[in-house]
Symmetry: C2
DNA sequence: TCGGTCAATAATGTTCGACGATTTAGTGGG
DNA sequence: CCCACTAAATCGTCGAACATTATTGACCGA
């Protein structure tokens, strides 16, 4: 218990705030395009303006919020081109993560949490719990990156910005699109567990092909005016 | 002139400080492992402690400086594994940038600055101006990314951390290694100018193969204790 | 003299309040 | 109805304060 508390206290206030905002986004409490008022947030989170600004700056660097001078912070909203650009960048990194995870994991036990996460994703998708689905999805990617053991990848891969994109499109997808998405993780996790780098790479590539197809099927109203 | 001044003033103080530190690193005025004192920097740069700390936080997020609690900020030093990990991450992104730049550039005129930059790199390498070489190299990558027109790539690709790695190894390379490195940029720029995406991709892949070879040839003393 | 202990110093982490600058909204006059 | 002007709200920066910790160097005993 004390370890948890110490760990929580050791992290700076701005990091805690940034995590809180990210979690609020995943759970739908904050929606893309929403205006973030400094006085409201400092009051709600009980921190100083300086710490909040530090957190917002951090989130802005990751493209989660957009800061415009004297106009405040807004949760970023991705237009269609940004989403396609993001997928182009994310795909090679995710494929690298999958290849490394498949090649690195020495014993099957370490892959067990990944398989469990994929199973939970299928469950959560079926039961329609979108907030939990997005949170679990993020855990899946974090695990995949960790398994690979490439510390630079963890720093670079834009998972938080992908959370943002998922938040935007999640509620507009059809059930079959959601099902296809969830199944993709199962295929990836299976390939990693089997230590099959080539298949893991192909699984991620196929997953992204499906996502691009879904994007093409979505109406323009899903995206802000570009 | 006023436009320049306005543009400089429009950017936040912390961004200016971060850029100044990055430039100092490229020019060798700051070396990996060096301790950054807040009082010294605030006095030299003429900014408040808050703005400086914001900049340091930003640089720490990009892995340029490492912050250790109550001990201050140090210019990061990459061990051998981190360098190899960084290359694994950077390669697919650089290849994507090259493919996009080759595919996107409609007219040859836009590629002219890239070819000029490659020529300048060959010159600077030959004349041994290492600081200018690294600065020009960064400009080359920035142009390559801009030409592709993928805004997410610019956000994700870890060019600053690559600057850091280059700073560490640049002075330890042999002339033939430096020559091979500089020639790689010429081949990339030429392929982009010819709108040959496949060749651009291969040129970058070959460039990275050469860099990995150089890394294997370097002695352990180049890297900090891992 | 050497090694260990301990207090003084310096640097950092965090927060707060203040000031000037700028955008936005609202208001009154033409 | 439109435009200039005022007022409110917000943001960027700075300086100061306080608590916490690492470092330094003096001091002391073996």
């Amino acid at each position: 218990m004390s370890e948890m508390a110490q760990e929580a206290e050791r992290r700076s206030a701005s990091d805690r705030v940034a995590d809180a905002i990210l979690q609020d986004i995943r759970m739908g409490r904050l929606v893309p395009g929403q205006h973030l008022l400094e006085p409201e947030l400092t009051a709600r989170l009980g921190i100083s303006r300086g710490s909040l600004r530090e957190a917002l700056k951090h989130l802005a660097a990751d493209g989660i919020v957009s800061l415009s001078r004297f106009r405040g912070a807004y949760i970023a909203a991705l237009d269609r081109k940004s989403v396609l650009d993001l997928l182009d960048v994310l795909e090679p990194l995710a494929r690298l993560a999958a290849r490394l995870a498949a090649a690195a994991s020495p014993d099957r036990a370490q892959c067990e949490p990944l398989l469990e996460s994929a199973a939970r994703l299928a469950e959560l998708q079926a039961s329609g719990k979108r907030g939990e689905y997005l949170t679990e999805r993020r855990r899946f990617y974090d695990m995949l990156v960790d398994l690979g053991g490439n510390s630079e990848l963890a720093r670079v891969i834009p998972l938080s910005r992908t959370d943002l994109f998922r938040t935007q499109v999640e509620s507009r997808q059809t059930d079959s699109q959601r099902h296809r998405h969830a199944m993709g993780y199962t295929r990836i996790a299976t390939a990693v567990a089997e230590h099959d780098s080539a298949e893991a790479d192909k699984a991620v590539a196929g997953h992204f092909a499906g996502t691009r197809e879904t994007m093409a099927e979505l109406a323009d109203e899903v995206f802000p005016a570009s």
